[in-house]
């Protein structure tokens, strides 16, 4: 069963690709690797890092590049083998099919993964190599390379596909573009920042935006642009962690509770409903006041608040799905409960859980910012938009508008990106107002 599912997903991945995007992807990857070699050579001459390390990195880059080709090969084989055998993803028609195609039928997940891995490797390399005074030119080039790669993939591979579907597709594209560029910015921040975001007094205190400091400087004389570029890391970490926790508790809980039914369902639903009705931020504030500051604690405080939103959506979906004939058929054929839940029900619930997930991401970002604002956030020594905003607020009376505007806008953009993705998916899922 699992093997079939995996094959099905791969089939979708490769059947959704066409000649042009693949070659662009390949080309971009190639350019990246060439860049990489250049950098390695350049860097190696400065420091005593060994050849094996560089080779391994380049080899890894190649491996990543080859993933689409491998997938393609495998799917060709498997599609020849089981032409008629329906895969799990194929058996669901209608609305879910579209989302499935959006999620699996393109190289975007792959592109994200690749870019993430590349960026992380670059980041790791940089922490070893980058001299104190700032990034070197080749490293910035890598940053630019990743950006171009991402944007190319997005535009070439995704836009035509989504554009056909009208405004929801556009929403998803714009949202993803925002989110991805934020992600890129954060991951590659070490190489694209003009100054070190932590160095005090790179300029005078509270200098207005100028050519030297495009977004001005903070009260402590730090370069605001650098801080804005680097400041997303903690917020994204907190949000991602809390979303993962929420998702991995809320979804299984919803699945099991509503599939089981009975008293268990009622009790869990009651608890979830009372949590849901509560002012989330207040609870998050109270919890993190108890737990204390820190990325993990903050994420946990946020997670507790948002579990019910997954639970409710999943539960209501399962209630309808478990009555469908194909589930009944599975029961009749003697499938075990675990199998039914994971292979028959979960794939149909997943799309709406994804919608909740992306909206939830926005909520988590906003809640994290709110927690930081009331002083329950992270340690002060990190670059964080929430902190910059909170400290900048003290400069409000002296009309230093830039210290609050830019960090604040970054939070808005990040939350907006996730909201747009969620909105888009949501509209694709519930196309009732189409006509």
């Amino acid at each position: 069963m699992t093997q079939k599912l995996v094959k099905g997903v791969f089939l979708q991945v490769s059947s959704g690709t066409k000649g042009l995007p693949r070659s662009v992807l390949f080309l971009a990857g190639f350019v990246l690797i060439v860049l990489w070699i250049f950098i390695s050579v350049a860097v190696r001459s400065n420091s005593g890092i060994g050849v094996p390390f560089v080779t391994a990195t380049v080899g890894f880059g190649f491996a990543v590049m080859l993933i689409p080709a491998v997938l393609r090969f495998w799917s060709l084989k498997s599609s020849r083998e089981q032409q008629a055998a329906p895969t799990v993803s194929n058996t669901q028609d209608g609305q879910h099919g579209i989302v499935n195609r959006l999620l699996f039928g393109s190289k975007i997940p792959l592109a994200i993964l690749t870019a993430l891995v590349l960026a992380l490797v670059v980041q790791g390399l940089a922490s070893v190599f980058v001299p104190e005074h700032g990034p070197t030119l080749p490293l910035r080039l890598v940053g630019a390379g990743i950006a171009i790669y991402l944007i190319l993939t997005l535009v070439v591979d995704w836009y035509p596909r989504l554009h056909v579907r009208g405004s929801p597709g556009l929403l998803v594209t714009v949202g993803l573009a925002i989110v991805l560029s934020m992600l890129y910015m954060t991951l590659a921040s070490e190489f694209i920042v003009p100054y070190d975001p932590f160095t005090l007094e790179v300029g005078r205190s509270l200098e207005p935006p100028s050519l030297q400091f495009p977004l001005g400087t903070t009260f402590l004389g730090q370069d605001l642009l650098s801080r804005v570029l680097a400041g997303g890391a903690t917020m994204i970490q907190v949000a991602a962690l809390s979303v993962v926790v929420c998702f991995s508790i809320g979804v299984p809980l919803g699945l099991m509770a509503s599939y089981q039914g009975g008293a268990a369902d009622r009790i869990v639903s009651l608890v979830m409903d009372s949590l849901f009705a509560f002012p989330g931020l207040v609870l998050a504030i109270a919890i993190s006041a108890i737990l204390g500051p820190g990325v993990v604690n903050m994420a946990l405080a946020i997670a507790v608040v948002y579990i019910p939103s997954y639970f409710r959506v999943v539960r209501s979906q399962v209630l309808t799905i478990k009555e469908l004939p194909y589930v009944e058929a599975a029961v009749v054929m003697g499938a075990r409960n675990r199998e039914i839940l994971s292979s028959y029900i979960l794939p149909n619930v997943l799309p709406s859980a994804i919608v909740v997930l992306s909206i939830n991401f926005a909520d988590a970002v906003l809640t994290a910012a709110g927690l930081t604002f009331v002083g329950l956030g992270l340690p002060i020594d990190v670059a964080d938009w929430g902190w910059d905003l909170t400290f900048g607020w003290e400069q409000l009376l002296s009309q230093k508008w830039w210290v609050i505007t830019f960090p604040g806008l970054m939070i808005v953009f990040l939350a907006l990106g996730f909201t747009l993705v969620g909105e888009g998916f949501n509209e694709i899922l519930t196309p009732k107002l189409k006509e």
Binding site: A289, L389, L397, I404, V412
Partner: protein, 320 residues
């Protein structure tokens, strides 16, 4: 449900690892002093006894003593609550009026530039942290234009109207003091617009969806066929029918409203429950924190109940 909620709060704040009394003192404390402290607050009893006392206390309106000043938390909360209520009423009114207005406009111009820009506005308002919007408002209206105060509830140079409800605007009306009323409203405008704007997105969307359906119904078409004026059809015929879900949403959004109020109050130094909560967090006053959380929870549950009743009254198809 309230009972469950109370238990949850107790569970999270008291039972989970971390002794609130120890946390209150942050660092090492003389065990004797700690024991006295715990005894004064009743924290030395077994946990189940604390739990029942806590439950019983909530029902008679006793939320315990503050760790900070040993005053009853209930009276402190009640002295702060009117300010929050005032802010909540004005923000919600603003949110509903703006949201419904824009939503109607949006649905009337379905799938045009106007419609789409209103929808985008709705999404954007959802993504703005309320305190950031507050800061921008303070900056523009309070500092650059200098037309509105940036924080506080009332002009410190003036005497406040005598307390009846605790809400300054209503008090000054009851007192017949027009000048105080205008002052109070001036202090209220920025916070409520800020909070209202952040909340209005959901109303825009809801109004739009419901109006799109209402505008397609037969009776609207019939009214159009009879040549009734456009505004009358939209607002009297269609909106009246689209309004019920909006009413429900007001109840549902009340929790979000309170959460937003905490941040808005902090931004505008509004002396309500939100600032109280934040102050107490800074003093590590866990009994007060728990009190506020419980109060908010009960409040939301009550509002939900009231909205349900009103709903049943307005829509005769629903029976309680």
């Amino acid at each position: 449900m309230i009972f469950l909620l109370l238990s949850l709060v107790f569970l999270i704040l008291r039972v989970l690892p971390g002794d609130p009394a120890l946390l209150h003192f942050e660092k090492n404390v003389d065990p004797e002093a700690l024991a006295i402290f715990k005894h004064r607050l009743g924290l030395d009893k077994p946990i189940w006894q604390q739990y029942f006392e806590y439950l019983l206390g909530v029902f008679v309106g006793n939320l315990g003593l503050s760790m900070q000043d040993y005053q009853p938390v209930t009276s402190q909360i009640m002295s702060r609550f009117p300010a929050t209520l005032e802010l909540a009423i004005f923000s919600m009114t603003f949110a509903v009026i703006l949201g419904v207005f824009l939503g109607v406009k949006s649905s009337k111009n379905y799938d045009t530039v106007k419609d789409n820009s209103i929808r985008i506005l709705g999404v954007v308002t959802y993504a703005i942290p309320v305190f950031f919007l507050g800061m921008i408002m303070q900056m523009i209206f309070g500092i650059w234009l200098g037309v509105l105060p940036t924080g506080g509830r009332f002009d410190p140079r003036l005497d406040r109207p005598p307390t009846v409800t605790g809400m300054l605007t209503f008090d000054s009306i009851l007192h017949g003091d027009l000048y105080s009323f205008v002052t109070a409203v001036r202090y209220l405008i920025l916070p409520s617009i800020t909070l209202g704007t952040v909340l209005c997105g959901i109303f825009i969307r809801l109004t739009r969806t419901n109006m799109l359906e209402a505008l397609r119904t037969d009776f609207v078409v019939a009214a159009e066929a009879r040549g009734l004026p456009d505004g009358r059809i939209t607002y009297t015929y269609a909106l009246k029918n689209a309004f019920l879900p909006i009413l429900t949403m007001i109840g549902l959004q009340f929790a979000a409203l309170l959460a937003g109020a905490v941040l808005t109050e902090t931004t505008f130094s509004w002396e309500g429950l939100g600032t109280y909560l934040i102050q107490r967090i800074n003093h590590r006053d866990y009994t007060a924190i728990q009190g506020v959380v419980v109060f908010f929870g009960v409040l939301v549950a009550m509002v939900t109940l009231v909205i349900d009743v009103v709903y049943a009254y307005l829509d005769p198809r629903i029976r309680l």
